[in-house]
């Protein structure tokens, strides 16, 4: 344990300042200190991707980023995707195509899907599967998740992450 250090992050457009231990994981800052419980923890080893969020325009597994590394950064979590009461096209597609069952991996899947479409607005099935390799789902067999991500791509609006 060592002395706490100040961290300032913008999460879903709001500024948050906290003092944290240097070893504190970003996912715990988000979940336990700031109340953004959409990012989930499913493993200890960066395998499952349930904690995936967007940090400075890139999808990261927030269990593998220290809170201090996010200092001064901008974070978008799944809570920040919908705008003015309207679902993000990726959220809409997951609902429409039954891309979730228990919902635990879903925030990470949605964030990974959004990140893929920023880089590749028209991914093939293989592209989607490769992009989601770091996100585990035990319920869906991925079938409807792949359908949802490709459908969101076809909707053509999913390439932008709201700041």
């Amino acid at each position: 344990m060592s002395d706490k250090v100040p961290v300032r992050v913008v999460v879903n457009g709001e500024v948050h300042e906290r003092a944290v231990e240097p070893r504190r994981l970003l996912v715990h800052l988000l979940r336990e200190d700031l109340g953004f419980t959409g990012a989930h923890v499913g493993c200890d080893t960066t395998n499952c991707g349930a904690c995936t969020i967007d940090l400075n325009g890139e999808a990261v597994k927030s269990c593998t980023v220290l809170a201090v590394q996010a200092d001064g950064g901008e974070v978008t979590t799944v809570e920040g995707l919908s705008r003015d009461g309207k679902l993000h096209p990726m959220q809409e597609a997951f609902w429409e195509h039954h891309g979730l069952q228990c919902g635990y991996c879903t925030p990470g899947m949605i964030m990974a899907g959004v990140d893929l479409l920023k880089r590749n607005p028209d991914p093939s099935e293989a592209d989607v599967r490769e992009a989601l390799e770091g996100n585990l789902c035990r319920c869906t067999g991925y079938h409807n998740i792949v359908k949802a991500v490709r459908s969101a791509a076809q909707a053509g609006q999913a390439a932008e992450v709201p700041a």
């Binding site: 504190r24 336990e32 499913g42 493993c43 499952c48 809570e79 228990c102 919902g103 585990l136 035990r138």
Partner: protein
């Protein structure tokens, strides 16, 4: 498709529609409420100190270092908490006439540890990170003892014992038989024997377990990621010596279960006991490493199976002896899970003589218990693999051998030699439908071409039947199979004064979609839109006792109960409507969402109007109609239900690396009339992927000293999106006569069907090399070793071990009369 029209179900025709899920909006917005998301005022965190030894006596525990830590509130051992617990974790199977050696299993160790990960002490404090540090300072001294890991060696004379007091590692033996299997085998023209290993796996939901004990006055609320909140209250009441009215159990959003949360775990009792002692809420959340070590495992059975047939491939006898590795302690159902497959021993085939024996074994591992399918995947894997072995032996195709042995449609209800009655089925129809999607002649032509180019492509079939809808209490309860429990299900349907409805179900979903499917069932019977039917579950304070979600029971028992309660409400609504419209109740029908006088559509009432009349009775209502509009159903089925289907798996095997790729999957499933086809497809996709996982990737491995080798998702490989194809699904609909809905379960069917289809496909692919059988998991190394050996090599340096386990002894092996690949099942 044939679909039965049940009375009073027309409503607006919601049943059968693929409407999207009511439960999704919060989940896709990050507004789910899983236990670890919850923070209660004054809440403390708990970390558990666990044994690094597989078998040892505890010589001392020094808590002083941890207790000095500023964030620590308490450090408690098994002895410290002895007075807070009234009883150990119960095991609830007491089969008549069979003794099961059952060790006491306490939430914290008392003087000895029997498996890696066993809880030894709990550290409670204000900060998760700090108490994890403090836990490192609990100094436990162990005197190691020899560990027993291999269940077959554990049964040998002279093996070290897991429990000295029992004098043996054998827990029990249980068997069932019908006809004369031994006699029929003596007379059989063809006998095929195999040693089929169904290895140990983990449930591995993506949400780890989490529990919060929240003391209130002389009672407590337990928030827990469980599939069985009501059973948990019942069991915890005994463990804690508290009356049930003092315990409320809440399962909020639960992030998958797959059987791993069909359990009452020591940690659930522990957080309650510690919270009550400290007078503050206490949360414990499992790490993934803890999950792999101490959430129960599944399968881990070695089956010696012998079938007898004639030269045309007609099976006359099936005999199997299972050696079941149960681990060191029992959880609530541990020794029963292998036997749970007994109703479907022999599968969907008319086999007149059957004998099945089960031997349970203690080892220094964590307990096995239910994992998706629980006993039926094991039976199905073995019978479906054996069908292909038999087909090879007698020289007919896998399709033909199945057709020659199927129970015929006309034979239903079909009583097996074991006295089990299969409710309904049409196995030929599902296989025929599968073959409409899969042109076998075309496949064989393509396979031949690919082989010439060095590509090993194979196809595997699985025509399964499974047993679910747990369960008729008389069949599985104390005087039946011997579970000290019952398996009816409750439902409450409450129509509110302004005409919307709330349904409470005693089942407890964790991803299946009950909120939507059950709303569809109720809506049709109430004349409402499912959007106005809220389905509640998972809170012992909200509704009557229920038995939870597992064993693909929720729809066939819980959904049926919802339907029955809704029909009772409908009957009362008709009486109210009749009084208001001056008609006879029997003349009121529900059509197009309205209660109307038969033949006079202009004389009608909506449920909104009827609900108003029920709650604020007008003068027209006779006084013998009670006010209110709410009914309860307790439904106990008269039989199990038996879903079935036909799956085909196509694989490509890389002859150089042994890597297996699943390139196509076709699934034809029959779970009776669909309530919501979208939900069925989702269950099949996930279920099949679970089975592919076991067949190709997943395995819990302990080394020879009982150390867990696969302690994280780095070593325990769940299938990713890249390991599975898009699934082609289709259905037939054969109603069950057991319930009014005609439905059967589908939550486990995919898993039950999948693993033999994969193994049969890989075997089919590698047949040109002379490989005829391999045990799961068909990892690249295992397949490569088999290929190397078949080609005359020795498989290279690491050939006989895999992840530290000797595959020659444990993982592989095909003994017996049938053809075997070189080096399998014996000396290399």
């Amino acid at each position: 498709m044939s679909v039965t029209e049940q009375p009073g179900t027309r409503g607006n025709g919601w049943v059968g529609q693929a409407i999207r899920r009511k439960e999704d909006p919060p989940l896709i917005k990050g507004q789910g409420n899983y236990v670890d998301d919850m923070t209660l005022p004054g809440m403390l965190h708990a970390v558990i100190v666990r044994s690094p030894e597989a078998h040892a006596t505890i010589s001392s525990i020094d808590k002083a270092g941890a207790e000095e830590h500023p964030a620590v509130v308490a450090v408690l051992t098994g002895e410290d908490l002895a007075a807070d617990l009234a009883g150990p974790i119960p095991m609830v199977w007491a089969p008549p006439g069979v003794e099961i050696k059952t060790p006491e299993h306490w939430p914290l160790a008392r003087g000895e540890v029997k498996h890696v990960g066993q809880a030894v002490a709990v550290v409670v404090g204000t900060d998760r990170y700090a108490i994890a540090d403090a836990a490192e300072e609990v100094i436990v001294e162990y005197e190691p003892l020899p560990a027993v890991v291999d269940p077959e060696k554990a049964l040998e004379d002279g093996s070290p014992l897991v429990w000295d007091d029992f004098g043996t590692n054998q827990t029990h033996e249980w068997g069932i038989a019908g006809g004369d299997a031994e006699g029929a085998l003596r007379d059989a023209e063809v006998v095929v024997e195999r040693r089929i290993v169904n290895h140990r796996v983990a449930g591995a939901p993506i949400e780890p377990r989490s529990s919060i004990g929240d003391p209130r006055g002389d009672g407590v609320t337990l928030y827990s990621s469980t599939q069985i909140p009501h059973i948990a209250r019942f069991v915890l009441s005994g463990m804690l010596g508290m009356a049930e009215d003092k315990i409320r159990v809440v399962a909020p959003d639960v992030g998958g279960g797959f059987g791993a949360k069909l359990q009452v775990y020591g940690e659930e009792a522990l957080v309650i006991a510690v919270a009550r002692r400290l007078g503050r809420p206490v949360k414990w959340t499992e790490t993934r490493s803890e999950h792999m070590a101490t959430s129960h495992h599944g399968r881990d059975q070695i089956a010696y199976v012998t079938l007898g047939a004639d030269r045309e491939g007609k099976i006359s006898a099936w005999k199997v002896r299972h050696v079941c590795d149960l681990g060191a302690y029992f959880q609530i159902l541990t020794p029963f899970i292998p036997e749970l497959g007994f109703p479907v021993v022999g599968g969907c085939y008319a086999i007149p003589n059957i004998k099945a024996d089960f031997v349970g074994v203690f080892t220094n591992k964590f307990a096995t218990d239910a994992v998706r399918g629980a006993g039926r995947p094991e039976q199905t894997h073995m019978v479906e693999v054996m069908m292909d072995q038999l087909a090879d032996e007698v020289g007919i195709s896998p399709v033909e051998v199945r057709r020659r042995n199927f129970i015929a449609k006309e034979q239903f209800p079909y009583e097996t030699p074991l006295g089990i009655v299969y409710d309904s089925g049409d196995y030929h129809a599902s296989l025929d439908k599968l073959l409409e999607h899969v042109d076998m002649n075309e496949f064989r032509r393509e396979q031949g071409e690919l082989r010439e180019r060095g590509v090993y492509r194979g196809i595997g079939l699985s025509t399964y039947v499974e047993v679910c809808g747990l369960a008729p209490s008389r069949a599985v309860g104390p005087q039946g199979v011997g579970l000290q429990a019952a398996f009816w299900e409750s439902a409450v349907v409450r129509v509110h004064p302004a005409g919307s409805a709330t349904v409470y179900t005693g089942t407890s979903p964790h991803g299946q979609g009950h909120d939507t499917g059950f709303a569809q069932i109720a809506a049709d019977r109430l004349g409402l839109d499912p959007a106005n039917v809220e389905v509640l579950h998972g809170d012992t304070d909200q509704g009557p006792m229920g038995w939870g979600t597992y064993g693909s029971r929720s729809l066939a028992v819980g959904g049926e109960s919802v339907g029955r309660a809704a029909l009772k409400v409908q009957e009362k609504a008709k009486r109210i409507c009749a009084a208001m419209l001056e008609a006879a109740p029997e003349d009121i029908e529900l059509a197009d969402g309205k209660f109307q006088v038969r033949g006079s559509a202009d004389k009608s009432m909506t449920m909104v109007e009827i609900a108003g009349a029920a709650h604020i009775p007008p003068q027209e209502l006779p006084t013998d109609i009670e006010p209110g509009l709410e009914e309860t159903s307790f439904y106990d089925p008269e039989n199990f239900v038996f879903p079935f289907g036909a799956h085909a798996c196509v694989v490509d095997v890389d002859g150089e690396t042994g890597k297996v790729e699943v390139v196509r999957w076709v699934a034809v499933d029959d779970c009776g009339p669909a309530i919501n086809p979208m939900l069925i497809d989702g269950q099949v996709h996930g279920g099949v992927t679970h089975g592919i996982g076991q067949a190709l990737y997943e395995q819990i491995v302990y080394d020879d000293e009982g150390q867990l080798v696969t302690g994280s998702f780095v070593d325990y490989a769940l299938p990713t999106a890249s390991e599975v194809p898009m699934f082609e699904t289709d259905r037939t609909e054969t109603p069950s006569p057991v319930n009014q809905l005609g439905v059967k379960g589908v939550g486990e069917a995919g898993t039950i069907a999948a693993s033999p289809a994969v193994v049969n496909a890989v075997t089919d692919a590698l047949k040109p090399l002379g490989i005829t059988y391999m045990n799961m998991p068909l990892t690249p190394m295992r397949v490569w070793q088999a290929i190397e050996e078949a080609r005359g090599g020795n498989g290279g340096g690491p050939a006989r071990t895999e992840q530290g386990r000797d595959v020659g002894e444990h993982g592989q092996g095909a003994a017996g009369s049938g053809p075997t690949s070189p080096g399998e099942g014996g000396t290399p």
